[in-house]
Subunit: 767 residues, 2 copies
C-alpha cells in the first residue's frame, strides 16, 4: 500500500474557500450574532505614561442602555501573558505575565483603565466618553536607550529591561578581526502595524455549565483558551474557543488580545454575550506592532568576498508590555543563522520596555530587521570591495550539508545558491547591473539583491505538536479536522491536498472543517512561525495513512481479497496489479462500512504528532528601481522573489503568499511607519488615512519564482513559506538605492522625508 500514488500536493488547485470568500458567504466572527449580545468599549488613556488618579463613572452608568462599567479595581489580580506561544513545562521559558485586564498605571497612549458594557455599540462608545478620569503624568520613555538610562522611571516593577541574550558561534570577534576587511554600521527599523483587513474582534458568553465560550478572530484558538483561563483563574478546559474564518492576522492575532476581556465581562454579567470589537484606531494603539530594532552590525570579509564573521548588537523596543517580548529579538538571531553558516556569528540582543504601543509578533518575527542590517552591510562591503553583490552571496550562501553554527543542525536542503542563480537569470541581473553602472543626473537607476533564511517552525524553543482527525462520510467525502488554522494563507487548501494525496482520492473529495472548536478540534498551537504546513503535515499524513489503510482493509473484506492485493487511487479501489481497472469506489466502501449489518464501522483516524526537526527555508529578493533624487522618491521597476521552500505544495497559493509578503515588505521598506511623538509618546497617525500603507496602485508587479527542492525531513518535502517573502525585500531595495545613488540608507522606511535627510547629508541635494 503506497499511500502516495495519487499526486495532489505540488499541483495548483483553487483555494477551497475561494468562492465562499468572493461571494461573501464565508462567515467571520462579526457574522455570528447572538440573542441579547451586548457591546463593550474601553476608556483609554490620552497620555503615554502615568496614573489614573481618579475615575468617576457615575454619568456613564446613568446613560440608558449601559449595563456596567468596570475599572482597574474590578478585574482579577492575576497577571497574565498574551504571547501566542505553546505552553512550556519549564517555568523559566514561559512568557512574561505583565498584563491585567485593566490598569491604573497606564503605560502607552491608549492603554485601558476602564470598560463600559451597553446594549448597543454606540451607547457603549458614548458612555465610555462620559467616564471622567483624572490623570497624573509620569516621564515618557520612547527608546530603549532612554529606558536603560540611569534613573529612568520604571515602566514595570522589574525595571525596563525585559531580557538580554547572546549567541556566539565560531568566535565571531576574532574572525572579524582576522579578516582582511571590516565593515560596520548602525541600522534602525520603524514601528509598523499589521493592518489586517478584519479588525480585532471577539465575543464571549457563559455556557450552561458555567464554562465560557469565546468566538474570536484569532490565529491561535487553543492558546487563547489557555491564556483566558490564566487571566480569569479558571481551569483550561472551562474555556472554549471557536475560530471562524479570519481576515488576516500577520502575527497580531498570535497574541491573545481582547478574548480575556470578553470572557471576563460575560462572567461578571451573568453569562450574557458580550462583544469586544476594536476600531482601527484602537488596533493601531492598543493591539501589537512590529518591534523597532536598533542594530549595530559589523562583519569581517576577505578580498574574495568570503564572509569570515559577522556580529549584531540589537536593542529591541517592545513598548509598554512584554507580549512576545524578548523572544522576537532572540528568535530573529536563530532564524537568520542558517544563511551564511560557514561564517562565525555573534549576536547580542536586549529588549526593553518603553511607553510605545506594545510590539508583538509580526510576519518575519525579528528576521526582517536583522536581515535588513546584515544584507545592507554586506552590500556596503561589496560596494567598497567592488564585488558583485550576487557573487558575494553565492560564495557564502548555505549549501546542502552545511551545519548551522548556532544549533549544530545539518542543513539537508539548501536551495539558496539555486535561488540566486535562477534569479540572476530570470531577473537578468548581470545585464541590468551593467545598465546601472555609473548613474548620474536626477533620475538614477539601481539594482539590489538580498537573501534570507528562516526556520519552518519554533522547535526547539517551543514544543511543536499538531493533530488531525479524518472521517470518511457515506458519500466518500472525507472530513478533516485540524487544530492548525486557516487565517487567509490557504492552509485548508493545502491540507486538503495532503490528505487527498495520502489517501488516494481527488482533492475535491476532501473537506477541511475550517472552524476550530477547542472542545473537540485536535490540539495545535495555531498559525504562526510559518509552522503550520510543516508541523501539521505529519499529523495529517499519519491520520490519512491510517484511514487509507482502513478503507483498503474494509474493501478487502467486501471483495474477499487480501488487503495486500489492493490499492486505492483516484477514489477507487483496484487490484495493485491492475490499477487501471477500478473495482469499487471509496463511497461504496463507506456505505458498506456504515451499513453492513455486522461487519465494519465508521471509518475515522486521528493522529497527534510532535515535530523535532526545523529545516530552514531560503530565498532572495531582486529589485530594479529608479530614484528621483530631487523628489526623494523611489519607483520600483521590477521586483522578484526567488524561494527555496522545499516542494511547493500548491504553486498558485505559494505565488499568492509570496506576492502578499512582498507587498508587505515594500510597505515596511518604503511607506509605513507609526509616527509616535518622541517626547509625549502619542501616536500621531493611528488610522489608514495617515498611516501610509501601500495600496495595489502603489505596488509594482510582483514576481515570484521557486527552485526545485525537497526537504527530506518534511512529510511532503516542503518547508516554510508564510513569513519568508517579506524578509529580504527591504535590504534589496536599500541596496538598489545604494547602487543608484551611492547613499546607503540605514533607517527604514525609505520615505521621501528620510531620503531627503539622507541625500542632503550626502550632498546629493542641497537644502
Amino acid at each position: 500500500m503506497d499511500e502516495r500514488e495519487a499526486t495532489a500536493t505540488g499541483e495548483s488547485c483553487l483555494r477551497v474557500d475561494a468562492i465562499a470568500k468572493v461571494t461573501g458567504r464565508a462567515r467571520y466572527t462579526d457574522d455570528y450574532v447572538m440573542a441579547g449580545m451586548c457591546y463593550a468599549k474601553y476608556v483609554r488613556s490620552p497620555i503615554a505614561h502615568g496614573y489614573a488618579s481618579q475615575i468617576d463613572s457615575t454619568e456613564a452608568r446613568a446613560l440608558p442602555g449601559v449595563l456596567a462599567v468596570f475599572t482597574w479595581e474590578d478585574v482579577p489580580e492575576l497577571p497574565f501573558p498574551t504571547a501566542g506561544h505553546a505552553w512550556t513545562l519549564d517555568p523559566e521559558k514561559r512568557d512574561i505575565a505583565d498584563r491585567y485586564l485593566l490598569t491604573r498605571h497606564v503605560r502607552h497612549h491608549g492603554d485601558a483603565v476602564a470598560i463600559v458594557v451597553a446594549r448597543d455599540e454606540l451607547t457603549a462608545e458614548r458612555a465610555a466618553h462620559k467616564v471622567k478620569v483624572e490623570w497624573e503624568a509620569l516621564p515618557v520613555i520612547t527608546t530603549p536607550e532612554a529606558a536603560m538610562a540611569e534613573g529612568a522611571v520604571a515602566i514595570h516593577e522589574g525595571g525596563n529591561v525585559l531580557k538580554s541574550s547572546e549567541i556566539s558561534a565560531g568566535d565571531p570577534q576574532s574572525m572579524i578581526a582576522a579578516a582582511k576587511y571590516q565593515f560596520q554600521n548602525h541600522f534602525q527599523t520603524p514601528v509598523v502595524q499589521h493592518c489586517h483587513m478584519e479588525g480585532v474582534t471577539s465575543f464571549a458568553w457563559m455556557e450552561e455549565d458555567q464554562r465560557i465560550t469565546i468566538v474570536s478572530s484569532t490565529q491561535i484558538p487553543h492558546l487563547v483558551r489557555r491564556i483566558v483561563a490564566q487571566a480569569l483563574g479558571m481551569s483550561w478546559s472551562a474555556i472554549r474557543v471557536i475560530k471562524p474564518y479570519v481576515g488576516g492576522g500577520f502575527g497580531n492575532k498570535q497574541d491573545v488580545l481582547e478574548e480575556p476581556m470578553a470572557a471576563f465581562l460575560t462572567s461578571r454579567l451573568g453569562g450574557i454575550p458580550v462583544k469586544v470589537s476594536l476600531s482601527r484606531e484602537e488596533c493601531f494603539m492598543a493591539t501589537r506592532t512590529r518591534h523597532a530594532f536598533t542594530i549595530d552590525a559589523q562583519l569581517g570579509i576577505e578580498r574574495d568576498g568570503t564572509l569570515k564573521g559577522y556580529c549584531m548588537d540589537v536593542l529591541s523596543n517592545t513598548g509598554a508590555y512584554a507580549s512576545h517580548g524578548h523572544s522576537i529579538a532572540a528568535a530573529g538571531g536563530n532564524k537568520i543563522s542558517y544563511l551564511y553558516p560557514r561564517s562565525a556569528f555573534g549576536y547580542r540582543a536586549t529588549t526593553c520596555y518603553t511607553n510605545l504601543p506594545t510590539a508583538g509578533a509580526m510576519r518575519g518575527y525579528g528576521a526582517p530587521q536583522l536581515i535588513f542590517a546584515l544584507e545592507s552591510l554586506l552590500d556596503d562591503a561589496a560596494t567598497a570591495l567592488k564585488l558583485d553583490p550576487l557573487d558575494i552571496r553565492l560564495r557564502n550562501a548555505a549549501q546542502e550539508g552545511d551545519i548551522n553554527p548556532v544549533n549544530k543542525k545539518t542543513i539537508y536542503s539548501a536551495g539558496l545558491p539555486e535561488c540566486l542563480r535562477k534569479g540572476r537569470e530570470l531577473f537578468e541581473w548581470d545585464k541590468r547591473r551593467a545598465e546601472c553602472a555609473a548613474q548620474h543626473g536626477n533620475l538614477r537607476r539601481g539594482v539590489g539583491v538580498a537573501c534570507f533564511s528562516y526556520g519552518s517552525n519554533t522547535w526547539p524553543v517551543g514544543v511543536e505538536i499538531a493533530g488531525a482527525r479524518v472521517l470518511l462520510n457515506q458519500d466518500g467525502f472525507i472530513h478533516v479536522q485540524s487544530g492548525a488554522t486557516e487565517i487567509g494563507q490557504g492552509a485548508d487548501t493545502v491540507f486538503s491536498q495532503m490528505v487527498a494525496e495520502t489517501i488516494g482520492v481527488p482533492v475535491n473529495q476532501v473537506r477541511v472543517i475550517s472552524v476550530q472548536d477547542t472542545d473537540v478540534t485536535p490540539f495545535d498551537p495555531g498559525a504562526f512561525g510559518s509552522r503550520q504546513s510543516y508541523v501539521a503535515a505529519p499529523a495529517l499524513r499519519e491520520a490519512a495513512r491510517q484511514l487509507r489503510e482502513k478503507i483498503i482493509l474494509h474493501a478487502a473484506e467486501m471483495l474477499h481479497q487480501s488487503a495486500l492485493n489492493l490499492t486505492l487511487r483516484h477514489g477507487m479501489i483496484a487490484m495493485t496489479e491492475r490499477p487501471e481497472m477500478p473495482l469499487i469506489s471509496v463511497a461504496e466502501v463507506a456505505m458498506d462500512a456504515f451499513y453492513h449489518p455486522e461487519r465494519g464501522a465508521q471509518l475515522t483516524a486521528e493522529a497527534s504528532v510532535k515535530t523535532i526537526t526545523n529545516p530552514p527555508a531560503f530565498g532572495c529578493t531582486f529589485v530594479d528601481l529608479m530614484v528621483d533624487v530631487a523628489l526623494c522618491k523611489i519607483t520600483i521597476n521590477r521586483i522578484l522573489n526567488v524561494h527555496d521552500s522545499g516542494r511547493i505544495l500548491n504553486p498558485l497559493l505559494a505565488e499568492g503568499q509570496v506576492h502578499g509578503g512582498m507587498g508587505m515588505g515594500i510597505g515596511w521598506s518604503v511607506f509605513e511607519e507609526m509616527i509616535i511623538d518622541e517626547t509625549s509618546g502619542l501616536v500621531r497617525n493611528p488610522n489608514l488615512l495617515d498611516y501610509k500603507m501601500p495600496t495595489m496602485m502603489d505596488l509594482p508587479t510582483l514576481e515570484s519564482a521557486f527552485v526545485d527542492s525537497c526537504e527530506p525531513q518534511s512529510a511532503y518535502g516542503h518547508k516554510s513559506l508564510g513569513e519568508p517573502p517579506l524578509i529580504s525585500v527591504a535590504a534589496a531595495i536599500r541596496n538598489a538605492v545604494l547602487m543608484a545613488t551611492g547613499v546607503g540608507i540605514n533607517t527604514l522606511p525609505l520615505t521621501p522625508k528620510r531620503l531627503f535627510t539622507e541625500f542632503r547629508q550626502a550632498g546629493l541635494i542641497e537644502g
Copy 2:
C-alpha cells in the same frame, strides 16, 4: 489494567445538565439566532382529503416583508421517506418514500400545499392566510377497515395497504385450540400525540461551500442529514446537522419533520437563514401521532394458568403518510415476544393509509398497544378461571435460559419473575387484592397488574452502530463526543458515568459535548428504540479503555515504570500494588503528554462499534384504583412500576425515566385522545387546552422499583429503559377497573365518556 476499578455507573449522580436547564442557560434550537433570519409559514389544507385545484398567491406575495411563496409546483420531484431509521443496504427494507415537500393532493387535515417566507414570523403567518386556494374534496377515510374496503379511494398511488406481515412461532392456532380454555377479545387504542414541551423547530442556511447547515430539535441528527439529502437530491455530506439541547421528542422527533423544508427554502433563497417552526396546533395535525391499533386477540390456557398459545391480529392506522409505516406494527410483535416465550405466538398485522394525521414513532413503538390487548386478555382469563393475575404471570413469565420463540435468541437475563415477586411485596398485592374482593356500591376499588417485554435496540431489523471519541484536556478533564443524542432522557449523564468508570476518573471530570454536529460527531443513528445506552456503551467503553491505556502508557514513560505496574483510579496513577498511594494525576500526565518537548502527544481515542445483540428488558405495573361508577371516574390510589433493565446505571435518572413513562402511560390510558371526526377527518382538539394531557395535579404519586439484574451481553450490564415504563400501565389500569367493576374495557382511553358507555352497556349504570 482492569479498567473498571473505579465504580461510577450504578451510582446516582446529578444530571450533568441539571443546573443548565433549571437556570434556563441550556441552549435549545430557538435560542440560536442568525443575522437576517427569515421565517416560513405553511398554507395548510382545511379538508382531510382532496386536491388544491387552484392557488393564487398574488396577494400574499404583495405583502411587504414577504420574500417568496412556494407551492407544490416549486418543490423537487423527489419522493422521500421521513422515518428515522438507519439506512439499509437492502432496498426492500428501506422506508417508504411517499413524501414531497409540498403536495397538491392533500391527504390529511393540515396537509401543506404551499409555504410563505417572510422577514418576520407574523408577516409570514399573515401572508399564508392570504394565499387563496380552491379545494376539490375526495372521500375521507379514517379507519383501516374503510381503507381496505372494496372501491375505497386510493390515498396513495399504490393503494391504501402499506404492508402486511406475519409471525408464527410454535403453531399458535393448534396450541390455542388444544388448550383447555380459549379466550378472545377485540381491542382498540386511540390516536395520541407526543406533546413534547419544545415544539418542532429548525432552521437552515447555506454554507460558504454551497453546503446546507441545519440546526434542529431532533433525536436523529445523522439521519436528518441523510433524509434532507434525499429530499433535495444532494450528496449526504453536503448537509450538516447541528442538534442543540432538545426539549423532548418521544419519537416524534425520530421523524425528519421540517428540516428538509428549511433546507429547501434556504437553497432557493440564496442561502439566507430560514426558520420553520411549528405551532402547537401544527404539531398536532402535521407532525406525528401514535398509531391507533385495532387488535383481535385470542389465547389458549390451561386450568393451572399455563399459557399454551396466543395470537394477535392487528390493523394499524398510519394516517396520511407512511412515516415509520408498518415497522411499528411489525416491531411491536417482536418486542413483546420475549414476555411469555414458552407459549406459541401468532401475530398478523396490516398497516393502512387513512386520512388521519400521520402516525409515527412514539414511546413504546407498537408494544403498548399489543401489551394492552395481551395483558387485558390474560386478565379476562384469570378472572374467568379465578386465578390470581400475578400467579398466572409468574407461571408464564420469561426465565433465564428461555429462548425467544420468534427469533430463537436465548434470554440471558430475565428479571421478570423477580419484578413480579418484588412488586407483590412492595405493593402488598395479596393484602390489597384481598381488600378489593367483592366490591359493590358506587365507589369500587380494584387492583391490577400487567407485564411487558421490550428490546434494547433495533437489531437485527436495523443496523446498530455507535461511535464515541474521547479527548484528554490539559487539566485532566475528559471530553466525550458521541453521536448518541441527549434529548432530555439523561444520556449525557449516563455516558459520563460510563467513561468515568472505564477510565478511572471522577464523573465530574468527564464532560460530554452535548451538541451534535454531523460534520465531526462520531456516527450514531440517534435516540430511539431505547437503544442508546445499550448501543453507545460498547463504543464509549472501547474509546475510554483506549484512552485509559494511553494515559497509563504515558505515565509509565514519565515514571520510568512498566505500564503493567501501574493503575489509574480516581483520576490518579498509582502502582497496582499500592493503589492507595497515588503518584501523579491524570492532569499531570496530560500536561506532560501535551508539552514535553519530544515524547507524547495529545491523548485521544475513538471507537465505532456495531452491536449484534438485543436483550429484552422486562417489567410490570401494579395499580390500585377507585372507580366512581356514577361519575365514571377513575382515581388511582397507588401505582408502582417494577423493572428489570439489567444494571441500573444511575438510579436517580432511572427513577425519573420510569416516572415520566408512567405519567405518559396514565395519559394514554385515562386522559388523552386526539378527537378526529370520523366523517370529515378534521382534528377537533389540536391544542393543549382541548387535548386533555394530564398535568402533575392529575397524576398520583408515581412509584418505581428495580430488581437486581445484570445482562451479560451488555457493556455495563444494562438493558433498555427509555420506553419500557409506559408499556404496561394501560393494561394494569384496565385490569384494576375490571376487578373493581367486573367490566373489562377494551377501548382506550378510559375517559368518563368511555366508562359511561361501557358501564351502561354492562348495566352498572342506567341511562
